[in-house]
Amino acid sequence: MCLILDASARDQVFGRNPTAVGRELFDWLEARRTRLVLGGKLTEELAGSDSFQKWAETAVSDGRVRVFDNEQVDRVTGVLSADWSGESDDQHVIALAEVSRARILYADDGPLQNDFRNPELVSSPGGKLYPTGESRNATRHRLRLLRQTNLCPNR
C-alpha cells in the first residue's frame, strides 16, 4: 500500500518516542511492505524533523519513498484552494492524494481526517484512514490495508 503521512502524525513514526503503531508502520516501511508518498508542501512540513529528513534521504535512494512532482502537486493544490469546501486547511494533502492516487492517510488531525474521507474531495477509490488504535481489530484492519495493493498508484 501507499500511504500519506501527515505532519501532524510525523512524530508518532519518526519522533524520539514513537507510538507502537508508529513503530510498526516504520518497520513496514523499512521492509518495503508499504511505501510513503511525498510531494509538494507536505514534503517541506515533514522535513521539519531532522530524523525524518535523514531517513528520507536514504529512503529516496533505495526506493522506500515515492516522490511526486512538486510542481504538479502545487498546481492541484492551487486548483483545490480556488474552490475549497473542506474543514481543514490541508489542501496540499488532498492534492497529493489526487496526484499520487495514494488513498491511505495517517494523520492526527480531525478536520483533515474528515476531508480525506469526504467523497467529494477524495474519490475513486475513496480515502481511508490508517487505524492508529492498538486493539486487535485495529491491527487486523491495518493488515487488511497492507494487502490492498489497489490503493497503491500503479507506477
Binding site: 524520539r16 516504520f26 531517513w55 536514504t58 529516496v60 533505495d62 526506493g63 519513498v65
Partner: protein, 465 residues
C-alpha cells in the same frame, strides 16, 4: 553496447543479461564482481569488434588464469568448462539489404571462452543481426566450422581442411592461438566465395536443399562488425592513479590506466595544437571550479625551451587576489587523481566508451557530486558511454537529481544502475533505474531487499530509531 550477457564467468554462475545505458553505474559491496564485469566488457570489445585475443591480465585488470576466471560452482560442480559472454550493439547506419530504411535491429555478439595451453581462447563466436546469424567454431586441429543462417535456411562450411587455405592461413600468421580469431569479415567473404565457386562444400545444416541465394548472401555479408576496427578502444582507468611529480621530463607518450601520461599529453597538446589546448583547458577549469578543486591550470616550461621539462601548475582564485600558481604535487591528492579521468572525458577525439573504476577516490563530496554532473554532460553532449564502478552516493545522487531536474538532456532511461548482490558463491546483477521524478525503479522484478541495506541500518542507528 546496449546489453551484456554473462554466464559461468568469475562469480557469475547462471546466465544473466543486464542493460547498459549511456551512463551505467555499478554498485555493490566489495568483491561482488564489478571490476571483473568491466574487464569482461573490454575483452568482449577486443574479441568481437577488434578480433584480438582476449587478455584478462592487461592493466588495469588482472583476472588471472582460466582457473581464476571460470566460475567455481563449489563441491562436485567444480570449475566451469567454458564461460560465455556477449553483448548487443546498435546497428550501423550503413545500407542494409533487409532493413534498407527502417531501424536496423541491434547486432548481438556471443563468445564462448575455453581453456587452452596458451590461456583463455574464444572457442565459439557467434553474431546475429535480425534473422541472419553466423557462428564460427575452431577445432583443436585448426579446422574452422562456419555456420550461417537466414530466415531461408542454415548452411555450414568447413575451412582450413584444404592445403591452399592452410598455406594462406600460414602466410597471414594465423597459426597457434591466433587462428581462433580469423576475422569474421574474412569468413563471411570466404563463405560467399564457397557458395559461388564450390557449392559442394556447403552443407545444409537443417536438411534443406537450396543454396543461399544472393539475398541470403547479402544479409550474411552484412553481419560484419558495425564498429570500425580502428575505433578507439574503451578507456579503462585504474582505481589508483599516478603520483604527481614536481617536474615532468618530456618522454614518449604512452597511455596507461593510471594516467601517468596525462601531464605529458596536455603539454604536447599545448605546444602542437594551441586551439584545442585552450578549449580543453577551459573545460577542465570549468569542472575544477564546479568541484571546488581549482580555477586555473597552466604549464610552466622550465628553461624557456619548448619541449623541455615542465611543471603542471594549478591556481585557486581568492575573493580579492588571484592567488599563487601552485605545483600539482603541492595540491591535495584529489586533483592529481581526478585529472586523468577528466582529461580523457573532455579531450577531443577521445574514446567513445569509458570503463571507470571508482573515479571518486580522494575527492571531497562536493567534487564527487561535480563529477556526477560532468558524467551527465559528457554522456549527453559528447555522446559517450560511461560504465562507472562507484561507491559514491554523492556522485550517483547528482546524476539522479540532474536528470530529475532536467539539468541535462539525459532521460531516466539513459541511466542504468546495476546492483551486484552476492548470494553464497554466486552474484546476481539487478538492473535498476529511476523514473522521471527520480524514484528508484526495478527494470525487472522488484527492488532487491539487500539494496543499500548497510546505509539503511546505519541511518536508522544514526537517528536513534
Amino acid at each position: 553496447m546496449n546489453e551484456v550477457t554473462v554466464a559461468g564467468f568469475r562469480c557469475f554462475n547462471q546466465e544473466q543479461t543486464v542493460r547498459l545505458a549511456p551512463i551505467t553505474v555499478l554498485v555493490g559491496e566489495n568483491s561482488t564482481g564489478k571490476t571483473s564485469f568491466l574487464a569482461l566488457l573490454r575483452v568482449l570489445w577486443d574479441v568481437a569488434l577488434r578480433e584480438q585475443l582476449p587478455d584478462f591480465k592487461e592493466p588495469p585488470y588482472d583476472l588471472g588464469s582460466y582457473d581464476e576466471i571460470a566460475h567455481y560452482r563449489g563441491g562436485r560442480g567444480g570449475r566451469a568448462a567454458s564461460f560465455e559472454a556477449g553483448f548487443s550493439i546498435d546497428g550501423s547506419r550503413r545500407w542494409h539489404p533487409v532493413y534498407p530504411y527502417a531501424k536496423r535491429p541491434p547486432s548481438v555478439y556471443r563468445v564462448a571462452f575455453r581453456q587452452d595451453d596458451s590461456g583463455v581462447l574464444p572457442g565459439i563466436r557467434r553474431v546475429e543481426n535480425g534473422s541472419a546469424s553466423a557462428e564460427c567454431r575452431v577445432s583443436e586441429d585448426g579446422i574452422v566450422s562456419f555456420t550461417a543462417a537466414t530466415s531461408n535456411g542454415r548452411w555450414s562450411v568447413k575451412f582450413g581442411d584444404r592445403t591452399p587455405e592452410r598455406r594462406f592461413s600460414t602466410a597471414l600468421g594465423w597459426e597457434g592461438p591466433q587462428r581462433e580469431l580469423i576475422a569474421f569479415g574474412y569468413l563471411l567473404r570466404l563463405f560467399g566465395l564457397a557458395v559461388q565457386t564450390e557449392p559442394e562444400r556447403v552443407e545444409h545444416a537443417d536438411g534443406g536443399v537450396r543454396l543461399p541465394d544472393k539475398h541470403d548472401l547479402e544479409a550474411i555479408r552484412h553481419l560484419s562488425t558495425p564498429i570500425p576496427r580502428q575505433a578507439p578502444r574503451p578507456f579503462a582507468s585504474a582505481p589508483v592513479r599516478s603520483r604527481p611529480r614536481r617536474t615532468y621530463d618530456p618522454t614518449q607518450l604512452i597511455a596507461d590506466p593510471e594516467g601517468e601520461y596525462v601531464p605529458m599529453f596536455l603539454a604536447t597538446m599545448r605546444r602542437k595544437d594551441p586551439r584545442a589546448w585552450t578549449a580543453l583547458k577551459e573545460s577542465i577549469e570549468e569542472f575544477g571550479r564546479e568541484a571546488g578543486l581549482f580555477d586555473e591550470i597552466e604549464m610552466k616550461v622550465l628553461g624557456g625551451k619548448t619541449g623541455g621539462p615542465f611543471q603542471f601548475q594549478v591556481r585557486k582564485l581568492g575573493r580579492r587576489s588571484k592567488g599563487p600558481h601552485r605545483n600539482l604535487i603541492d595540491m591535495g591528492y584529489g586533483v592529481s587523481q581526478v585529472l586523468p579521468v577528466v582529461t580523457e572525458l573532455l579531450r577531443p577525439a577521445g574514446p567513445r566508451m569509458f570503463l571507470l573504476q571508482q573515479p571518486e577516490v580522494h575527492l571531497h563530496p562536493t567534487a564527487q557530486a561535480a563529477l556526477g554532473g560532468l558524467f551527465c554532460q559528457v554522456a549527453a553532449r559528447r555522446r559517450r558511454q560511461l560504465i562507472v564502478e562507484t561507491h559514491s552516493d554523492h556522485l550517483i545522487d547528482r546524476i539522479r537529481m540532474d536528470i530529475r531536474d532536467r539539468r541535462t538532456k539525459l532521460r531516466p532511461d539513459d541511466v542504468s544502475i546495476l546492483y551486484f548482490q552476492r548470494r553464497n558463491l554466486a552474484v546476481t546483477i539487478h538492473s535498476l533505474g529511476w523514473d522521471a521524478n527520480g524514484n528508484l525503479v526495478a527494470k525487472r522484478g522488484s527492488i532487491p531487499d539487500g539494496y543499500r541495506e548497510f546505509f539503511r541500518t546505519e541511518r536508522r542507528r544514526s537517528i536513534g530509531l
